[in-house]
Symmetry: C2
Subunit: 326 residues, 2 copies
């Protein structure tokens, strides 16, 4: 009976977990600020308490949750799909841009600017059901390998950010992705890699149409872009999908500036986090002059807006969940 009472007491007063919730974050101001914010928003005795309904946390994906160099991974996926399509049907590569894509000529495509990029993405991201496309993206993420690290793309995610997502969820935060990347692409891995379900992924949208295909009702992906979830599009995308301003926002580039501004301008406690790529050894170092993930205005504004700038080299004890071969 004594054991029973002990068990009962333990059940009523569970041992408070004292384990470090963010083991891959070095002790310092960034980690302390994150933990202080979560404590302040979850302690019901404080004025800064936020009810779980309003604990919305949003994160950019490229450069914030996973790497984005030497070029956005979704573009590398599009190149691989172009190769496959041209191999199956050489007539598919009917334009110079698609020919370059099918030849794996990344620089050639990028020389054509945004129009060429959209052409390749549209041509490789259409003509199939949403479900088939997402399955294709998921298979690629799990098997294709990054040119520099040799890691599969599902391992090119940041271990400290995985821990942050879990820590927030453990504190009844709802975690969302808000990315310039395509929604149907990211849903190929968001649940398995980040623990973020498909309905909490906001991103750019390809056109799509409901059709009967061989007597079966399908949502088919069309060529063309319906919505670009970048810069000013990010707050619009959040307003569309969530309908309230997040209280925790993470980003890494000027593409996240509007989202940081809009979210942290709301009433009550707000946290803005910028992931600063400062680690050329373990990852990549870039900011103001980068073509991918340019961080300039948002870095300037961080000081006056009181956003926390995480320094990848100083704040992270490890970068990827799996150590890349060197």
């Amino acid at each position: 009976m004594r054991h029973l009472i002990t068990a009962l007491v333990l059940a009523a007063f569970p041992v408070i977990a004292m384990a470090d919730p963010l083991p891959s974050w070095n002790d310092g101001a960034t980690k302390a600020a994150i933990i202080a914010f979560v404590d302040q928003t979850t302690d019901p005795t404080l004025d800064s308490y936020v009810t779980p309904d309003d604990r919305i946390a949003v994160f950019d994906n490229d450069g914030t949750l996973w790497a984005e160099q030497p070029v956005y991974f979704q573009f590398l996926f599009a190149i691989d799909m172009a190769k496959q399509k041209a191999a199956a049907d050489p007539a598919w590569a009917a334009t110079p841009v698609l020919k370059a894509a099918a030849a794996g000529d990344i620089k050639g495509v990028l020389a054509g600017g945004e129009a060429a990029l959209i052409e390749v993405v549209s041509a490789t991201h259409s003509g199939m059901t949403v479900e088939d496309f997402t399955a294709q993206a998921g298979a690629w993420i799990r098997t294709a390998k990054h040119p520099k690290t040799g890691l599969v793309y599902s391992d090119m995610v940041y271990q400290p950010m995985l821990e942050l997502l879990s820590y927030l969820r453990d504190n009844q935060y709802q975690t969302w992705i808000v990315s310039g990347g395509g929604v149907d692409f990211m849903r190929g891995f968001s649940q398995a890699v980040y623990g973020i379900p498909p309905q909490q992924v906001i991103g750019s949208l390809g056109k799509a149409e409901f059709q009967m295909v061989d007597g079966k009702p399908q949502v088919m992906k069309d060529a063309g872009i319906a919505f670009i979830d970048d810069k000013g599009g990010k707050p619009v995308g959040i307003a569309r999908a969530i309908g309230k301003r997040p209280i925790f926002v993470g980003g890494n580039s000027d593409g996240d500036l509007a989202m940081l501004q809009w979210s942290t301008a709301g009433a009550g406690p707000r946290f803005g986090l910028i992931v600063h790529h400062t680690d050329a050894t373990r990852e990549f170092a870039y900011d103001r002059d980068s073509h991918i993930g340019k961080l300039d205005k948002a870095l300037d504004e961080a000081a006056t807006a009181c956003w926390t700038v995480g320094d990848m080299a100083a704040d992270w004890s490890r970068v990827f969940p799996v150590e890349p071969a060197r």
Copy 2:
């Protein structure tokens, strides 16, 4: 100590609630089918078991969760807003359609067809922040009264459907709205009235833009429509926002046909529910010939598709949470 053990046993084996989860549904085939489906999908010992992650239930709003006669309530809201705007600034009603709206001439506006309707909605649903608009919609829903029943619009909801939403949520279903109505309009009442949070509301989208207004970052509603969430738009809207096919779908009109088809064509157990408006005494009776909420093709297809048709007169012991004065 005996009491302690009893308490412990009761805590471990809670008394199974035998109360009727759907008290406003009369006993009969419809209610039995709903309960059997929920039992089949939540019993982990059965092949028909569905994990909570995939328990997605979607409902049309107009005519399914609340009434839609004599005309969609959002249009009546737009007319009231037009009156207010014209009263504040007579120059606002600069076109014949807006003049008719400001005069409360509903028939006059409707005579102009869909173009006139969109003109009134665009002109009254723009030029303010998303938050201000949603607050305005919420205030109207709670205070404006329905022309036939005299009830405030927040009481023009169907008690049996409120019970169904709660019953599904009690069984770890995530409940969503998928409506032709405007997202920012419905978010004015979805949480308070249906218990559905803003991020689970899918609907038509007005254009919106991120702007600095008096130095503050805002998402401003523009005139113009970005997305119509009706007919084939409904599966597209679900694919965009949720990224998987719902397993439970409720609708009441041909506007819900594509959503019913697409959702119930998925693998595993699926439930399609059609609310059939058969009760001219307590609500309204209409189907194949109605201008609002026309139910024709979906009613024909219900038999072959094995959707359940709920007969409002026969299946519902009460309609509204509050009894209208007669």
